[in-house]
Symmetry: D2
Subunit: 264 residues, 4 copies
């Protein structure tokens, strides 16, 4: 009887003399010929991106890489302060905050839009007016259900997230502007008719729409936000190495701690 | 008295109407104009890379992104299997293996070479023979101390790591071939004279030398291996979503568990 | 103007001469007088447990501490193998698998039961027949909705999870047997009438019911499973230090990797 | 040919009808009969602790469980704020700070003392004066090497860590006061003669000495600090669920961020 244990993979294997990545020879076909962004796309989809898809993908990664002193950056800096011997621990701690409240918007928006777009079938002939109709229906349904439209609204950029129009433009130039971005932009044009007030389309949301139109897997959109954020966290840790702020944050909190007895 | 609390940073800040990254306006100056690799370099160093530095940096990231079923990939897949609702947890678990035994070689090699190179001062006029002399001394010192030269040797690619010559070539073409790569290549040429056997220069080691020559901070070289690996882990998780192997690995181990009583 | 920054906490504070924990003096009132299990309960609830609550809480922790080569144990061992310098990373990697698929059952069951029990108001006079009626209704509702009753069924212990009857007995002896355990036990007695087949009440589920009856916060039940599992992971890492299996698992997977081209 | 794959373990295995832990039947021999602290000791050492060892072990866990708003507690709270759906991520982030700077003292002290004690052989007949001689030599050697004695000194409790005398007393009462605690206490008595000033013996250090004397494995002492800390982190997260401070800390930092251009 042959033992049929086998762990299939399409990513990478290696032997004594070669390293294969995605079915290619890493040394001769990939190194120096594929950018890191392109490889990341390829690894996630097992398809090489078109130049337009790659341009949008890189722009999305850039837009999500950092937002200053977010809770995730603070967690990473605190962890580095406590355990400077483990850079991997500090980055991991930062990424662990990549959940529903902050980084989750990208994935939530992409999946929300895709779920509406998919049943529409071929939308290649849709005009803005068609998308506006879909958008009005989408927002009205969300309102009736008491739920929010993911990606609509921003706690800080109340007059408009500066990343949003640029991302639409890049996607148009790159010929990657598809149904998810179309619907998201239409939501931006029409939601005030339903909600009675104008909210910004936020940059993390447009990132999700753009990733979906660029062909990235919906179930992993959060992963790309995490990849982007890893670059930002490295920046924070480099800064923490040269000009630390974690000790000041710690002292600020510790010095202003106040004991409160439980009420029961 | 003014309260002087202040948390300085050179990375990013945002206001209602703008997002600044590295002192630039994210929307108008960065998005669509800077690749993700370029931004990652910039965030880590606060300097924009030259085209040559960027080319080497991207090549290094590509070379480190994935190596198939490494322990870190297995850990990430296991974690995804257990907690599929938390992609960030699976990626973090994978990165946590980015320590001394596997990913550490990149940083160890870069730091080892830099420590030898630094006291040499200006080495721009060094010929190969000069580097060979330094290399012989370096290997002889390591041998005398009973320590290993980081980056020398590879458990699998015993006849030569296929990435290594390509990386030297890319660095030369990009005009980024500097003292760390020079010394590392000289170690490759000369170590057999001291050690009595020929070992390959490994790809993770040459990555460290290249990052050092490309101007990345030595204290964070492991961070770049982690950034690269994040892309690989996303590939593994995408595959785990469509064609999971974690359940098979788990079953293989669980089914072949055997209780062994302690000896005391 | 007074700066009113303040970070209230009921957990701990310290000054030059004393350390306070939960409003008590750590050195004179806690050390040597409170067991670790008792302190863990106290920290989570800010109430000292009754002896019965503590007995049930410790029994639950013990029941959840380890299950051999689970995916989380494998992830922790793989991470330790890759980064032996960071025990905290290996434990963290193991805990990150404490999500919905394995450890989540405890929290899901506790919350599910509590949501049914709460609207019932005072159930102190309920007899078994009353709980059976509630249970039948609960299972029938879940069946009608096509959802599962958390904690019902087990992939391995198909004839009954050996932990379950012992936990019911401990809770009865400790006088902590309350509405959640009552309902869970009634589900065990009655579900076959609705589902047409007999499923075991699983040990992670009864743990959730017991934690709820013992007064632990429902929103943190998963946290106790993680605390318990930390002890198990330390056991695995101790074993990995003396008799490692991670290299064998890695080799098994790596040696049986097989490249499969993508289908698109 | 027999396939000899096998993954030995002394921790746990399970079959359809039973769960074995440490070679015992979990349901009938462990549940309700072994406290969580006792199980944690047993898992780590594969030996059941004596009552005295267990008393010291539980006291050490209690002493290390929490210290208020430490960097690790802040990291855990930040992570919970960002990703409230993943309690395991928040706890993992907190534990990742369990590294060299804060939690490391316990392991460093235990290992440092054990390395000095081991070559002494049988010290059962040592009187205080003998330990004082060893201690003087130990401190003098450290001073000559320019290194610090781990566990000596504390940033806050400059007049003495209140946990330290209590831990010595508990160990004496429990008959677990052995060579590591003896040497540590002697260092406390004698170091001022060498260093010219009096430093406190810190509580994390005495914890390491006590764990060593209680028979826990030196290579995992950090693991016990992490186990203890898990209970503290659960307390912080319970508080964050009811009375969050993470949003205030985030706002404090974000509002006081100040952009500083790089100097190069």
């Amino acid at each position: 009887m042959t033992d049929q244990r086998s762990y299939p993979t399409g990513i990478g294997t290696s032997s004594t003399d070669s390293i294969e990545l995605l079915g290619l020879d890493l040394a001769s076909d990939v190194l120096g010929k594929v950018s890191f962004g392109e490889l990341a796309y390829w690894l996630a989809t097992k398809r090489r991106p078109t130049p337009g898809q790659l341009r949008v993908f890189e722009a999305v990664l850039v837009s999500l890489a950092d937002h200053g002193y977010t809770p995730t950056a603070i967690a990473a800096r605190m962890t580095y302060y406590s355990a400077p011997e483990s850079v991997q621990g500090a980055i991991a701690a930062g990424l662990l905050g990549g959940g529903s409240r902050f980084l989750g918007v990208t994935e939530d928006t992409g999946q929300f839009l895709a779920a509406i777009v998919k049943p529409l079938g071929d939308t290649s002939a849709y005009a803005d007016a068609d998308w506006d109709a879909v958008a009005l229906d989408t927002v009205a349904t969300a309102k009736a259900e008491g739920s929010k439209v993911p990606g609509l609204g921003h706690p800080v950029h109340k007059n408009g997230d500066p990343r949003t129009p640029v991302m639409f433009q890049i996607a148009r130039e790159a010929d990657v502007y598809g149904p998810q971005l179309s619907l998201f932009e239409a939501i931006g044009r029409t939601h005030a008719q339903v909600l009675g007030r104008t909210l910004p389309l936020n940059g993390a949301g447009v990132a999700g729409a753009a990733l979906a139109d660029a062909g990235l897997p919906l179930a992993l959109l959060r992963g790309f936000a995490l990849l982007a954020r890893t670059a930002g966290l490295i920046g924070h840790l480099a800064e923490e190495q040269s000009d630390p702020v974690a000790p000041s944050i710690y002292m600020e909190v510790d010095r202003n701690a106040r004991y409160v007895a439980p009420e029961h």
